[in-house]
Subunit: 343 residues, 4 copies
């Protein structure tokens, strides 16, 4: 059985594993105060550059945890976070944001993306409500890039969102759980420097881009909450052996590994996408990254499932389904060929 | 200035005030363990009758508090509550439900009402999701009756919701902050016995139907959480002088006062509604209760505002607004005439 | 049966009731934006004077709710509140503070009071802990005055606590659920002006001092959280007919009524206390206010319970109990005499 | 610099690292539904045996997270958890339990342990309180084994706690963050089977006993909350590559590795302890496990700090400190000798 079901079916990239082994008996302080985290922080800061002002880098084990901690530590109690109805925090995080006390204000999605115009309308309307003091105040805009459908924000879109956030005193937060695959996309317009300039906080996903676990959380220009370590601890997210994430990001940001992983995976996805198009499949969205969403008959899905593991995303009428096909750093070219042959 | 802005502009109905005065120096136990609460409980139970099984009546000071306590005490941590996008818990409660840890799962509204068909679709879809274990589980359906737009559920609609709740093990909760005005509506199909039969929990609004404060919360057939008094206390809602609410509901449910208040207020609203229609105003919804939502030019609104207080609900384009006109037990017929003359 | 069980066995003082009746049909805005609340705010501000800087007055229905809202709106997520082990928030609020997310840091009590020296030691130690970033940070000191045992802080003690709070950037919060009885005590050293000078926030209890419901919350020198109305709404504490509390405090602070109620009740308690001492009962603490805690044999308690309702506070060995005897604005002198005769 | 500051200064035991490398490209399902977690579950269940009834094993990244999830998923909203004042949840978890809504009911500690007699007294008293409905109900007893001071519960003590829990319907939860060091102690009386018999839920610490991250959480006899996966997700603790913990516990429970790690570390600690005693140091408690707490002059501490990293636990007067010395699977015998020589 060959899995294209997701981008976390294997362990870590070899460079990471090697460094974990090599550093194993080196003693280090706990709770992310170690030399490996320090190295990783320096490498990430170097990639971002100093032009955008102060940069704070923190490490957290997983994406939902990161979203929850960023949002809860940034928002005031009376504030909520605007997200696309298909945003990860609105759908697949089991209500973690609400569990932390904040409303996810859901707006329509457009291939997974928020429309800046609709965000502007929502916020403008809010401030005209007679009863706005009885409503959740918008305090943040959450976007994922790539989105849950693999699509990407353009530079113009991100600038438009930034401008709205400036006007209404909102924070702009980018969930980059799969950020590497954005960087690897041919049509991507947003460099890590652009993101650092336009967002208040974002994270660089590790778990889904070649690491075992870990997300590198970047706060720009002093946006990190005071006593952030205590807040992380309070959410149960402060790993004693924080080094395990430090080591991984130190490797991911050495010699462009993070960017190469993204590029490689997207290339494999592009091959599959081209084959899908050629064979007449309908793509649900035009995704330029490592996730492809395709309409498939249940019969074909069952047939493929003899040899391949794909993800049945949701039913589409009685006979078809939306199916997700993913690649990663670990996708073998020969398996891509086998899949293409079988499509 | 004459206010039609809401149904809570005056104090309490005279019968209630009189009883508060008469009972003032009578000693009573605290925290809703008094003789007045007991009397109120008995009268409410008598109105409901014994045919629907066990009835528990509790008293809480206000509607948002009641919604928050009912929902948080009923749902499991992994559950959320389905509501219309315009439902009070989704809009005007400042995120109280999310602050208590639960997602409000918003579905479209139809003149303020949930569509049973859309609820069924949502829940059916949920149980077909591959990733449903990563999603908030639907655990309750919240409806308001009358809705925030003054509209009413039909008996068929409520039965349909009940049936879905039975099928998917959901609780059905009716917010009756203005329930008296439903009972007072000519087209109302739902008696208090029907509601007790079809809902798991509902409340009988006092604050907006002639009381100073207070909602009577009714749990049917053992749906009340264990140690409910402790849960109320934990939310800060356990009044030392609970008698103040007991006295009020004892009076409201004596000699049909609650039902008469509703009927009287709706009659006044019907007069205003008839005048609005006759004068060519567009009604936003066809409300059979004490709230009327009407499209009005901002110019007319400003003119009326010299003499009358109405509520500008929300802007409608550049020149018009949706305006709410409310009546209550205290609305004077001569003021209704003055308003009609000025429309 | 005559009750001395607590200070909330009756309704409201006659002046309050009269004003509720007189103002009943006067129209007013909702949610504490009415003329009665405004009048009450002005009277309370006048009592405090302008020497201590900006004064914000808000109204909330009950004490636990007030404690929860003050503490949660003031503390950062990583902060907890220091309280005596016997403090109301540490014992009889069903964990409302923890339910709102904050640790109650319990220190020993001395007749219900915190020792400034022990508070200083605790906070000083905290800042020397290696692992303090993994601990709840002290952010506030909570005191009740009178305490749960009826005792009072001296001016020197309150000044000492203020000084510690200044040194360590803590807020000082006084729970004045029974504040009127402090003002009514012969040995009281703290005027309302002193309290306003030394505390950041305090409340003036109404429910237990002659009102039906309501506490007047006073924030000094800009300590009120932003968008406080939204925060109150989110906790379910924003009454539509906020006027009901406004009317009551407008009356309580007219012609010194609040202070006279306190004085009267304490005088009745002093008569009972003198009789207890004379008859050889042991007082648990030397309370100068309206609550007296006395050791009584269970036999005597049972005998008295034929005619009087007292509160059995807690068992003391097999044969005795600590019993609470309370007076209030409504205590009748002849009933005090009956009790004394029966002791 | 040689560190004895804690038991998490190095990475993972070699067997674990080897298996991580060997299994790296093997594809596996996400979210703990993989073959490695399955293997780990089976090995842990085998170690526990089937005599104690149903066993559920779950994996969570860290100890605070585990404590928070166990406690919040087990307790009702109105319940709190009893713990020693020095318990990890009461001190070094930044208020995570309160942040999740539950009071930590702190009782005195005896060398880090709860006294069964004091627990019994507390619970018995609670049920006699007149006002118990206004108090947090005790719902669980939390113990750590070894405790935060390295001490161990005897079998008699654990049985006594079990008996109290049975009598008052409390859950008994053992925090085994360092459980391996209990098993490795000469005086340990509690086998893993005993623990499984006497506790409702416990966890087997990995992070501090040779793993990179991960705790194996064991629910006995059906004590696991429904939809536990959703609850874990909601707390942000559901790792996509759950395999990383599965692999580690599969190795830790192969060929007794977990028990050998514990034994080895304790042997090294015993050598240090013997030297401390011999050289006249005062031990703060008589710890039979891998943590030793010793009184040391600040001068000596500073001298040792030239070469060794120890943890200054807390100050003891002006000139001395309590210092913690830890060993682990990775402690080198030659470093122990160096430390002993320098003491």
């Amino acid at each position: 059985m060959i899995s294209f079901a997701n981008d976390y079916s294997e362990g870590a990239h070899f460079n990471i594993l090697k460094r974990l082994v090599d550093s194993d008996v080196e003693q280090a302080d706990g709770y992310f105060h170690d030399q490996f985290c320090e190295e990783a922080r320096e490498r990430i800061k170097a990639a971002i550059g100093s032009a955008q002002g102060e940069v704070d880098v923190e490490f957290i084990a997983g994406g939902t945890q990161t979203n929850m901690i960023v949002i809860d530590s940034t928002l005031k109690n009376y504030e909520g976070v605007i997200a696309a109805k298909t945003g990860h925090i609105a759908t697949h995080e089991a209500g973690a944001i609400e569990h932390a006390g904040h409303k996810v204000i859901e707006l329509p999605h457009h291939s997974g993306k928020l429309s800046p115009g609709e965000v502007l309308q929502y916020v403008t309307d809010f401030y005209q409500h007679e009863a706005k003091d009885h409503e959740v105040h918008p305090g943040m805009v959450y976007i994922s890039h790539p989105t849950e459908f693999g699509t990407l924000y353009t530079k113009a879109e991100l600038k438009a969102l930034r401008s709205i956030c400036d006007q209404f005193n909102l924070k702009l937060f980018m969930d980059g759980a799969r950020l590497g695959y954005a960087f690897g996309a041919a049509s991507n317009e947003l460099s890590i420097q652009d993101i650092a300039e336009l967002c208040d906080v974002f994270y660089i996903g590790g778990t889904k881009v070649g690491a075992l676990i870990g997300e590198a959380l970047v706060f720009m220009r002093g946006c990190k909450a005071e006593h952030f370590e205590t807040l992380i601890k309070q959410k149960g997210a402060l790993l004693a052996k924080g080094r395990i994430i430090g080591v991984q990001f130190a490797e991911l940001f050495k010699d462009n590994l993070y960017f190469e992983i993204g590029k490689y995976a997207v290339e494999q996805a592009e091959r599959i996408k081209a084959a899908l198009v050629q064979k007449g499949y309908r793509l649900v969205v035009d995704s330029p990254t490592n996730q492809q969403f395709v309409v498939m008959s249940n019969e074909k899905y069952d047939e493929l499932s003899q040899e391949f593991k794909l993800t049945k995303w949701e039913p589409l009428g009685a006979n078809n389904s939306i199916v997700r096909i993913c690649t990663s750093w670990a996708t073998k070219p020969e398996n891509v060929e086998k899949l293409i042959a079988a499509l």
